[in-house]
């Protein structure tokens, strides 16, 4: 249609291309910069690292160059992936348990004040006691190491889910509650149509925190158990390499732990946007 218009009009009106729109162009530029700048910064840091190690002839058992770490990563790919899978399994299972347990208990808390008042101290005690302090005990009492590690990671990830679910379920607008009373909503309807949607933003915030905490819990528990058990998680690989003075392998395992944390963060952030993006203030992008 636009071609026919330009043909019929000999006057030199250049049709505005979408890229000519300054607002659109700015937005695209911003997107490009958002990707480009971090990539450049990280590349620069890695290059500096590589250069300084090479220039000062730092031995690889003190600080290995990024290229050596990458090579170690490739050479030990199979065994490192096995360890990574162990840690992933541990993290995801503890997160799943934290979600199911935290949501269930959070709902009970929201329904009953007396139960909350009696059980909340236990949750707080579990939360404030450092996991490294409890882990040895759990490792003694739980014969299977994997389960012991799972319990440790779960304790760390559990609390934010519990506390945010309980707060979220109570945060429903009072007038909306009255409205549901007025229309004689059943308790189930009230839960499904009012309380759960009101709690979702709180829950998603907790999920972002708990995802990271589950990984931390898994790694810390592995460290504590590392000397005792025959584990193959990433943290025990770091520990093991440190005993053998294999610094490049330590860095390679460390890299995988960070990568895992980043993936967890990206997935939970994406999930949060997918669930809340169309309505909640925290996820809405404002046009300026």
């Amino acid at each position: 249609m636009s071609t026919s218009t330009t043909e019929s009009m000999p006057v030199a009106i250049t049709p505005t291309a979408p890229s000519a729109d300054p607002a659109l162009r700015r937005a695209r530029q911003e997107r490009r910069l958002r990707l480009l700048l971090p990539v450049c910064a990280i590349s620069f840091a890695l290059l500096m690292w590589e250069f300084l190690v090479w220039y000062n002839e730092v031995p690889h058992y003190l600080i290995p160059a990024p290229s050596l770490i990458a090579r170690t990563l490739v050479e030990n790919f199979g065994s490192l992936m096995g360890s990574a899978w162990f840690t992933v399994k541990l993290t995801l299972m503890s997160l799943a348990l934290a979600i199911s347990g935290g949501v269930a208990l959070g709902m009970i808390f929201a329904l009953s004040r007396p139960i909350e008042m009696s059980l909340f101290p236990f949750a707080v005690i579990l939360q404030v006691t450092p996991i490294v302090a409890i882990a040895p005990l759990i490792l003694i009492y739980v014969p299977d190491t994997f389960w012991a590690l799972l319990i440790c990671a779960w304790i760390v990830a559990f609390f934010p889910i519990l506390s945010n679910t309980a707060i979220g379920l109570r945060s429903a607008d009072h007038n909306l509650r009255d409205l549901f009373t007025l229309y004689r909503a059943t308790p189930l309807q009230r839960l499904r149509y009012l309380l759960i949607p009101s709690a979702l933003p709180y829950f998603m915030a907790a999920l972002k925190i708990a995802g990271g905490l589950a990984l931390i819990g898994a790694v810390v528990a592995e460290f504590v158990a590392g000397t005792a058990g025959q584990n193959t998680g990433l943290a025990s690989r770091i520990l093991e390499s440190s005993f053998r003075n294999e610094i490049p392998l330590m860095f390679a395992a460390l890299f995988l732990v960070s990568a895992l944390g980043i993936v967890i963060f990206l997935v939970t952030s994406w999930l949060s946007t997918a669930v809340l993006g169309h309505w909640h203030e925290s996820e809405i992008k404002r046009t300026r």
Partner: protein, 257 residues
């Protein structure tokens, strides 16, 4: 005049848990088809009275009958809150559908009624918008559509337009009047604006505070209510009478604080 009373309050008293006496010995009877405003300063118990009629609050003394039953049992009552009180996670359509959904109706069964209610307030085109995309006046109209979707006999409104600008308020005043006329509703309207109460109501109940009580029960002149009515001498005169009645309820503390 011959219709039976739809709402009866007799010797109603409300004392809150903290000991505040919010309402003392309120006696009132509202017939079907009336448009009654509760007018008074803040703290006069007008909202409390409305919430008790809705069954959202229990009176601590006296009885309230709505549609021949105890308040809260009658059903067939809708409530519009001061803020629009919409669910931010649901579209306009889903917000309006809520009362029907809570009655167990499916989306397909409810569609016609929801669309009719949206049509009443002129928001058919915004069915799939989210509340955050609407202006304050539009949100309030969604709230009214939600109240109307069950075709209630009684509409209770708690200072619904207090937070809106004057142009929007005038427009919504006319919308409510039209609904009242066309649907044969009974409306109980809580407001602190003399002009609004005189414009809308067939009867203004003036209330005083400390403790909340009914001071005057003033019938309003009959006749058409439209933009022209706001400029008539009769409207001005009625407003003056109601203002004097309202000022009579306040001691100097209320005025000079």
């Amino acid at each position: 005049m011959t219709q039976p009373a739809q709402i009866t309050l007799s010797h109603v008293e409300k004392r809150f848990g903290n000991g505040t006496l919010a309402l003392r010995d309120m006696n009132l009877s509202i017939r079907e088809g009336e448009f009654v405003s509760f007018l008074g300063p803040s703290g006069c118990g007008k909202s409390t009275a409305l919430r008790m009629i809705a069954g959202l609050l229990e009176p601590s003394g006296g009885t309230i009958t709505v549609n021949g039953r105890e308040a809260g049992d009658g059903g067939d009552v809708s409530f519009v809150f001061q803020d629009a009180t919409l669910m931010p996670w649901a579209t306009v359509f889903d917000n309006v559908m809520l009362p029907l959904k809570l009655r167990g109706l499916g989306r397909a069964e409810a569609r016609a009624q929801v669309e009719e209610a949206l049509g009443m307030v002129g928001l058919t085109k915004f069915a799939s918008s989210y509340p955050r995309e609407l202006s304050g006046g539009m949100k309030m109209r969604v709230s009214i559509a939600r109240a109307m979707v069950t075709k209630p006999r009684l509409l209770l409104m708690d200072e619904p337009f207090a937070a809106l600008d004057e142009m929007t308020r005038f427009k919504l005043n006319n919308d409510v009047l039209e609904l009242w006329r066309k649907q044969g509703l009974t409306v109980v309207f809580v407001t602190h604006s003399v002009f609004e109460s005189v414009y809308l109501s067939s009867r203004v109940v003036v209330m005083g505070s400390r403790p909340g009580r009914v001071v005057h029960d003033l019938p309003m002149p009959e006749g058409p209510r439209d933009e022209h009515y706001r400029t008539t001498a009769r409207y001005a005169e009625t407003c003056r009478i109601v203002t004097e009645a309202l000022e009579g309820t306040m001691d100097h503390v209320d005025i000079n604080h």
